[in-house]
């Protein structure tokens, strides 16, 4: 599996735009993930070669930032806030309800490949607590309740 032409040229462009190959590493990983959902070894190596950095350097960056996924994720990634303001408004009941419904815990993907569930720190939606961000465009959802989790599992936000 190799990178599309479009991605390859976007990576080359990022080098100029962000001030050099090193500075463009994270942006390249982000773009690959935006297109493919996660960053596989082959893509990481190819991007490193394009930028002229080593695979190890690329890996170094890829494994530090928590929202660069180095293993496959589901079609929809659900990031549930575990910050204090959400906790104070029942986030743990929502968490339990989502886990029960999907049959998975944090860091796991449903067997049908539809959902990945991850916990995340305060998503800046404390005025909608308990909140989460979902899908590739990180749409903010909340206030969530155990009865309305359909809202985050449903089709309204991919």
């Amino acid at each position: 599996m190799s990178l599309s032409k479009k991605l390859r040229s976007a990576i080359t462009e990022a080098m100029e735009h962000h001030g050099g190959p090193r500075a463009a590493m994270l942006e390249s990983l982000r773009m690959i993930q935006q297109e493919h959902g996660w960053v596989c070894d082959a893509h990481l190596e190819e991007a490193a070669a394009l930028l002229g950095v080593t695979t190890a350097e690329m890996e170094d960056v890829a494994t530090f930032y928590s929202l660069i996924f180095r293993q496959p994720v589901g079609e929809k990634v659900i990031l549930l806030c575990d910050g204090a303001s959400c906790y104070l408004n029942g986030a743990e009941d929502v968490r339990d309800a989502v886990m029960k419904r999907l049959g998975i815990g944090f860091g796991q993907t449903t067997p049908d490949g539809k959902y990945t569930l991850i916990n995340i720190c305060c998503v800046g939606g404390c005025d909608h607590a308990p909140a989460g961000v979902i899908g590739r465009n990180r749409k903010l959802v909340g206030p969530l309740t155990p009865d309305t989790i359909d809202q985050i599992l449903g089709e309204d936000a991919k």
């Binding site: 735009h17 962000h18 001030g19 190959p21 090193r22 500075a23 463009a24 590493m25 994270l26 942006e27 990983l29 982000r30 950095v53 350097e57 170094d60 960056v61 530090f64 930032y65 928590s66 929202l67 660069i68 990031l79 575990d82 910050g83 204090a84 303001s85 906790y87 104070l88 408004n89 029942g90 743990e92 009941d93 995340i120 720190c121 305060c122 998503v123 800046g124 939606g125 404390c126 005025d127 909608h128 607590a129 961000v133 465009n137 990180r138 749409k139």
Partner: protein, 436 residues
């Protein structure tokens, strides 16, 4: 609307940002014209100094003092640009103020950044925005393109001879990226481990060049100061520290929200404006400025909220976004969540933080489960004392993590002990699990 709200007054309720044309109609970019056409960089800096603008990112350091460390062109060693960086990484628990400034009023931030770059002799502006703020990333990117097209960014801005570029760097997660030297490492394509200081960023920052990092809200104040004058800005405040503050009120309140109000507004007033305390309706305690600020109690709800007054009360004004706990909310539970967060988001560089925080997190979880031991409380106190003070670790993440724990132990020691003695969380037992 009570008083003036320069930062959020023009934001639309649905946060749809203004086009450049709309923004111009609201007086946008007038301050940029004024600054670049009629003032020297030194005059812009002096105006900001006279306005008493303290950094809104957490530490409250005076913005102009930081700017004065930036070398004049020709004084910086070697070749290359100086950088002005806007910190939009906002991930502190309970902090949701920069989001609205980035999403709803991006042109305000661009204006401030242009003037700040001018005053710090910087020719490149980078706005780092966290991954989860996709609307912010999109809106900022679009607004920058408009400003560039209109000649507010680029070469020889408004014929002033000042050249400046601006772009957005989306980040990809981890709280520690928000620490300013870690952020610089991140921009250089490295793991975001904080740097040793000195040298300070103004001497050697991004790519070894002079660099200033300021918070989104700090930068958003600058055009207002330049446009309306230092005296006007100071008069917005009820205290010595200039301006309004974009406060946040969340946790156990009926209408959690962002409230822009004069610096020095009290917690009691803000809680009232946020619909009052929810749950039992009785305030137990609050953290005035995000997860890393120490607990204050009802008796302190009437102190003016600014960096000086809150520090004197033994806490930290931090981000100015308060977290409210009513009588049915357990501070031990809140501290446990905070510690788990700081443990997870640490960069792992220094031992007290990398190894100490998970240890503390385990103890907190044990206390909550009702399996805590009295010796655990001494371990917690020792950790606060040994690893908490500034300078014992490479950056302030550890100190920040210790401040709710330290103030929690000092103020609610009996509650910690009750968790051990009674073998459960007495508050959860009496009121049920943490739901408002």
């Amino acid at each position: 609307m009570s008083a003036e709200q320069p930062l959020t007054g023009r934001a639309r309720p649905d946060r749809r940002p203004h086009t450049l044309k709309e923004w111009r109609k609201l007086g946008g970019y007038d301050a940029v014209e004024r600054g670049l056409k009629t003032m020297t960089p030194e005059e812009v800096l002096d105006t900001v100094a006279a306005a008493n603008l303290n950094g809104r990112g957490g530490a409250g350091f005076p913005a102009a003092t930081k700017w004065r460390f930036m070398p004049k062109p020709g004084d910086a060693p070697g070749d290359g640009p100086s950088y002005f960086i806007v910190n939009g990484d906002e991930m502190e628990p309970g902090a949701f103020k920069d989001r609205i400034l980035l999403e709803a009023v991006p042109h305000q931030l661009i204006e401030g950044a242009i003037l700040a770059a001018y005053a710090t002799y910087s020719s490149e502006i980078i706005v780092l925005i966290r991954d989860a703020y996709r609307d912010a990333i999109a809106n900022m990117t679009r607004a920058i393109a408009e400003a560039e097209k209109a000649g507010y960014l680029g070469k020889n801005v408004l014929g002033s001879g000042f050249d400046v570029k601006m772009w957005v760097h989306p980040s990809a997660g981890r709280y520690i990226v928000g620490e300013e030297t870690a952020l610089i490492e991140a921009l250089e394509g490295k793991r975001a481990v904080p740097r040793k200081r000195p040298p300070f960023p103004a001497q050697s920052g991004l790519w070894g060049r002079p660099t200033t990092v300021n918070n989104v809200e700090t930068v958003s104040c600058v055009s207002h100061i330049v446009g309306n004058g230092a005296q006007w800005f100071r008069a917005l405040s009820r205290t010595e520290e200039g301006g309004t503050k974009v406060f946040g009120v969340s946790g156990r309140v009926n209408k959690p929200q962002i409230i822009e109000a004069p610096m020095g507004t009290t917690a009691a007033e803000l809680i009232e404006r946020a619909g009052g305390v929810s749950g039992t309706g009785v305030l137990r305690c609050f953290q005035p400025g995000g997860g890393a600020s120490g607990f204050l109690e009802p008796a302190e709800a009437d102190i003016p909220l600014d960096f000086g007054h809150v520090a004197k009360a033994g806490s930290m004004f931090g981000t100015g976004t308060m977290i409210v706990l009513d009588e049915s909310a357990c501070p031990v539970g809140v501290i446990a969540r905070h510690i788990a967060f700081y443990a997870r988001e640490s960069c792992g560089w220094c031992t007290p933080c990398r190894d100490g925080l998970p240890w503390v997190a385990q103890i907190m979880a044990r206390l909550e489960r009702g399996e805590g031991r009295m010796e655990d409380l001494q371990v917690l106190r020792d950790t606060v004392e040994i690893a908490g003070p500034r300078g014992r670790t490479f950056c302030d993440l550890m100190g920040g993590a210790m401040s709710p724990l330290g103030t929690g132990l000092a103020r609610f020691g009996d509650l910690f002990e009750a968790h051990v003695r009674e073998g459960c969380c007495p508050i959860a037992r009496d009121y049920g699990r943490a739901v408002a």
